[in-house]
Symmetry: D3
Subunit: 133 residues, 6 copies
C-alpha cells in the first residue's frame, strides 16, 4: 500500500515493458534488470521516457561515462538517495572507479556541502569577476 | 545586522589573515582573493582550517582537478548555492571546462535529481547484487 | 537512546494525550492512531499543537483533501522522508488516489526536481512578465 | 562566465531551436518563450529532450493541469528554486489558481516540511498497516 | 504575479490582522512588524496560526531564547533560506549573539553538512550502542 | 560493493589509523570508536583531516559543547542523515541533553523548516532593517 510497488519480473511483463528491459540489458551488456526499472514498469510511458533520457544523458560524450557516474553519485549522496548511491556506486565500480577515486569523490562531496553552507550563511556577495562575460 | 559580514581586503587584514591570502594566491597562481575567503577572514581559525581542507581535497590525485571542480558544481547546483555555482563555475572554466562539458554536466545533474526522487518516492528495494561483497 | 522515542500506546497514555488520540480517530473515522502521533505523545504540547495545525491545514477548502495529500506527498518525496511517504501515501489511497494518479504524481515530482536544478545551475534570469503585477 | 548563459532570442536561434520554440508557443497558445528554454537553447539536444518530457508529463491525464502545476510549485518551493516558483506560479495563475488556493497550497507545503523533519528526527517506525499489501 | 504577494501595512490591514500585528509587537517589544508577517497577512488564518506556533515554540523553556535562534539559523542556512537567515540573524543579534558565537555557529553548520554526506555516502551502519535503550 | 565500506576494527588498523582512534578515545574519554571513523579509516588522510576538524570545531568556545551538539542535530535532522541523528543524539545525551530539551529542539527544527518554505515560496523581500549595518 502507500506509494510502494512490487518489481515486475521479465516473465510477468507486457511486450511493451519487455522491449525496454531488452534494451536496458543490450545497452549495458548484462543479463538482468535492476529494481528501479522493474518498479517503474507499472507505468510504461514513464519507464520508456526515463530509460530514453538515461541512455541519452549517460552516453559517452564530452564527459566520459565514469565521470558521469561520479557526478550521479555526487548528486545522489547530497540528496541522500540510498538506492541511487547503491546502484550508481555499483555502476561506477563496473566502469573502473578505484578505491582511491571513491575516497576522493566522497571528500569533494563532503567539502562542497560544507562550503556551500558557509557561502549561503554569510550571504557572500558574488565577485564581479565571476559574472563578467 | 544579521549574519552578513563585509569582505576584509588585503590592506586591512592582519598578518595571520594575509598569510592565508598569500597562500591562496600562490597556490592558484592568481593575484586576487575571492570574497568567500575575505568574509571568512573575520574568523581566522576557520579561514585557515577551511583553506587547508580545500587545498588538500582539491589537489590533483586519483581524480584530476577539472573532474573535482565538476563534482563541486554538481553538489552546489543540487544545494542551490548561487555563490558556489559562480565561483566553481569560473574555476571549472579556468581548468578547461568546455561548453559541451558544461551542457553534459547540467544534464547529468538534472537527471540524477529526477531519478533520485522516483527511487525514493517508490521506496525501491536495493537489489541484492548491489550490496553483495 | 539518541533521539528515538518509543510510541506511547493508548492504554499507557495520559488523559491529555488520550484526548488528542480520540480527536485524531474521530476526525479520521478510524479506530487506531499511527506512530507519528504516538511518538510525539512524549511531548504533549507539541502533540496538541501539531495535530491542531494538521487538522486545520488538511481540512477541505479551496483545495480538496486528495489534492492536499498529493501535495504532502510531493514535499515528502522531495525531502526523502520515508515515514511520511508511507503515511501520506496510505492517506492518499484512502482518499481515492488511483494507480494512474500515483504514476502521474511521481512523474511530475521527478521532472520538477530535474528542471529546478537546471534553472538554478544556469542561474536563469526571471522573466519580467513573471514579476509584473 | 561561470555557469551562466545568455538567453538566445528567436531571431538568433538555429532552425532546430526555432522548431522547439514554435512548439512551445503552439502548445501553450502564447506568443513568447520564457528564459528557461532560451538558456537551454545553447544545448539543443537537452532543449528538445526536456521540452518533450515536460509536454508529456504536464499534459492532462488522471491529474488535471492545474493540480500538476500546484505539485510543481510544491517541489520548487521545497527546493528553493526562485525561477521555478516564479514561472510555475505564473502558469498556475494562468490555469486558474485562486488566491485562496495559493494560500492553502503554501500552508500544506509549510506543514509538510515541518512534519517531515519530526518524523525523520525521531526516526518514527513505519506502521505495519502502511506497508501491508 | 506568480506566487508573490505585497506586504500589507498596518494602516491597510483588517482588524483581524492588526490584532496579530499588535501581539507580535507587544511580544517582541518593538514598534514594527517584519515583511514575513505582512505577506502572510493576505491569509489571516495562516497568519494567526503560524504566529501562535512561533510564539509558543520560541518562548523560553528548557532551551533559552538565544539557543533557539541559533537552531533556527542552523536550519535556515542548511535550507538556503535567505530571508530567514537575515531575519533570524537579526533576532539572534538582538538576543545577544556575539561575533565569536556567530563564527562558531557557522563552523558547526558547515562541518555537520560535510559529515552528514560522508555518513550517508558510505552508508555507515548505525552502531548498536546508539540504539540500545 | 557500490560505495559501502566495512568498518576497520582497531585490531586490523594500521599504526596511522590507530593513532587517530587513540586520539578519538582520549579526547572523548571513552574506550570505543564509532563506525563513522572506522569506515573513514579506509582513507587515512580523510580520517585524520576530518577528525582534526571535528575536534577543533566541537571544542568548548563561545558556544558550549551541548549547544554545539544541538546545532549538529538540527542540521542532521534537516538533511535526513539517519546515522548522524543517532550518533549526535547519543552525544547530546552524554553531554546532558534532557527530554524536555530534546522536545524543544525538535519543535524548533520543525517550525524553522516550515517558515523557511513560506518565506521562500512567497519570495518575501528582506526588510531594510535586517541588512542595515
Amino acid at each position: 500500500m502507500g506509494a510502494q510497488r512490487d518489481p515486475i519480473e521479465y516473465a510477468d511483463a507486457s511486450a511493451e515493458v519487455r522491449a525496454v528491459y531488452d534494451d536496458i540489458m543490450a545497452t549495458r551488456r548484462v543479463d538482468w534488470v535492476n529494481n528501479f526499472w522493474k518498479v517503474l514498469a507499472h507505468d510504461p510511458p514513464t519507464l520508456r521516457r526515463l530509460w530514453g533520457n538515461l541512455r541519452e544523458v549517460m552516453a559517452p560524450g564530452a564527459l566520459d561515462p565514469l565521470t558521469k557516474e561520479l557526478l550521479y553519485l555526487a548528486v545522489s549522496v547530497t540528496n541522500g538517495c540510498r538506492y541511487c548511491i547503491a546502484s550508481h556506486g555499483a555502476s561506477a565500480r563496473n566502469k573502473g572507479m578505484t578505491e582511491q577515486q571513491l575516497s576522493e569523490l566522497m571528500a569533494v562531496i563532503g567539502l562542497a556541502n560544507e562550503t556551500n553552507r558557509l557561502a549561503t550563511g554569510y550571504d557572500v556577495p558574488v565577485d564581479a569577476r565571476f559574472t563578467a562575460s
